[in-house]
Subunit: 272 residues, 2 copies
C-alpha cells in the first residue's frame, strides 16, 4: 500500500488546503453536495452476478448486541391458503443501507435517494492484510491514493468499498470483537477519508464489510457524522467483496424505498 | 394483439399436448423445474436505470385492505445520536416478491433464490388497452405469442411482466377496485399463461403492476398455485413498466435475503 509517511504527507496537504477544518461541523446541517441524478458516467456491461448480501436471521450480529429482528409466521398455507411472515425490525440490521437522515434530520431518507445514485461503479480497496494485523485499522486517504496508483482515478459516482475480510467472521463473536470493557474492535473508514472523498472526488457511497462505517472502537461516530450529512449513503455488513475485482464492477444497492426510512436491510449485488 | 380466435387455437393446441391437465395438481408439491444457477444467457449492458419500485408507506393499498405496515421512530438524533425507525410488516406489501414458499411449504424461501435468477432479461407485455376496456383482463398465452411475433422468442431466464397501466392507480381506490360485494377488479396473469411459460419457455419470474399475480376477481389463486410451486418467483405492485422497452432491459430484483421469508418488500430496478 502507501509508503511509510505517505498518509502524513496527504494529511498535511489536506490541512494546508484547509478542508479538514470542516469536519468539526459534523452533522450540524444537511449539505446537499452529492448530485443525485448524475447517473452512470458511461455504459456498463456485465455477465455475472455476485451477491454482496448476508442472509439475515434473528441471530445476526448487531451494533449494540441487542436483537434487532423478530420473525413470526402469521399466515399458514394449510390454514389460510398461503404462508406469510411478519417482520419486526430496527432498520440498521443485516447487510443494510445508511441513508443521510440516519445522522442528519433534514437529509434524504432512503426512499429519497435517486435510483441513479444506487447503481454505480464499485471500487474495492483491499485492507485485509492491515485488518489482520490490526483489528482497529482505519482506511486512510493514502489507501485511496494507493488504489488510484494501481487502478487509475476513481470513476465518477463511484461506491468506495472497504474489503477488510471481516465478512468471514459474521457467524462468530469475532464480528463484533468486543473486549472485556465492551469496546468493539473491527476496521472502518477514517473520518479524514470520508472528508477526502467528499471534497476531492465524486463519490456516491461508501461500503464496509463490518458493523459500522466507523471503526469499532470509535466513540464519536465521526465518519458517520462527516459522511452522511453530506447527502451520501453508506452500506454496512456487506458480504463477498473478496469476490469482486478492485475495479470494473457495478454495485446495485437494493435499498428500501420506505417513506422516511433511515436505512434498512438491502439486497446488494455486484454486476461483473 | 392476437387475432380473434387465436387464444382458443393456442389453448386447443396446449390441451392436445395434454399439459394443461397438470394445472390441477396446483400447490401439491414443490417441483424444482426452474434452474436457479443458469445466470445470464449473454452479457448485458446498460446506461440508464428505471426504478420499478413504488414508495411504500403505511397507507399503501393491500390485498385484504387491512394495513400491513407500521413505522415507529425508536431512536432520535437529538436524544440518541442517530435516527432509527422500527418496521412491523406483513411481507406481501408494496412492490414485493412472492417466493415459491408463499404457496408451497417445501419450496424455496426468498433467501434461497439464486442471485442469478434475480438479475435477468425483462420482457414487458403491454395489455394496458385490454385492461382499460376490461379491468378483469387476464394475460393469455396468445398475448405472449403476439409479443414473440413482434420481438422474437422470449430470451432464456426472462422475467415476463404484465404492463396493464395499473400502477397509475396506486394512490386511489381504483388500485383495489373493489365492488359492492368486496370483489376486486384488476388484471393479472391467466393460469394457462403460467402453465404455458413453465412448460414451453424458460422463465425465471413473472411480474404484475397490480396487487396479485391472479386477476382481482380470482377466487382460487390458480395462477399463484400454478406458478410458485414450480420454484419460480413473482413480483407484485411493480411500478413504471411503461418506461421500459418491450425487450432489451435487464430487471434486478432486490428481494429480501431474510431467512425463511415468503417474499417481501423489494427494490426493483430495470437497467436499460
Amino acid at each position: 500500500m502507501c509508503a511509510p509517511g505517505c498518509y502524513e504527507a496527504v494529511r498535511r496537504h489536506l490541512s494546508r488546503r484547509g478542508f479538514l477544518r470542516g469536519a468539526a461541523a459534523g452533522a450540524a446541517a444537511f449539505v446537499a453536495t452529492a448530485e443525485p441524478n448524475v447517473g452512470l458516467a458511461q455504459p456498463a456491461s456485465f455477465s455475472r452476478v455476485v451477491d454482496l448480501t448476508h442472509t439475515l436471521a434473528p441471530g445476526f450480529p448487531t451494533f449494540t448486541g441487542a436483537p434487532y429482528l423478530k420473525l413470526e409466521q402469521r399466515m399458514f398455507l394449510d390454514r389460510d391458503g398461503y404462508n406469510v411472515l411478519e417482520w419486526t425490525l430496527l432498520e440498521h440490521v443485516g447487510t443494510h443501507l445508511d441513508a443521510p437522515i440516519h445522522f442528519a434530520n433534514n437529509a434524504p431518507s432512503a426512499d429519497r435517494l435517486s435510483p441513479a445514485s444506487l447503481v454505480v461503479p464499485l471500487a474495492v480497496i483491499d485492507v485485509s492484510g492491515q485488518a489482520e494485523a490490526d483489528p482497529d485499522y482505519q482506511v486512510l486517504p493514502s489507501d485511496v491514493l494507493a488504489w488510484e496508483r494501481a487502478h487509475g482515478p476513481l470513476p465518477d459516482n463511484v461506491c468506495v468499498a472497504m474489503n477488510s475480510g471481516w465478512d468471514r467472521h459474521v457467524a462468530t463473536e469475532m464480528f463484533r470483537n468486543a473486549d472485556d470493557r465492551g469496546v468493539m474492535h473491527f476496521p472502518g473508514f477514517h473520518a479524514d477519508t470520508a472528508e477526502f472523498l467528499i471534497r476531492e472526488r465524486r463519490v456516491q457511497g461508501i461500503a464496509v464489510d463490518t458493523l459500522s462505517l466507523d471503526h469499532g472502537r470509535s466513540k464519536d461516530f465521526r465518519t458517520h457524522t462527516t459522511w452522511l450529512p453530506s447527502g451520501r449513503w453508506g452500506l454496512e455488513c456487506v458480504a463477498n467483496l473478496g469476490q469482486c475485482p478492485p475495479k470494473g464492477a457495478t454495485i446495485v444497492v437494493g435499498g428500501p424505498k420506505i417513506q422516511g426510512a433511515t436505512g434498512g436491510p438491502s439486497r446488494v449485488f455486484a454486476l461483473l
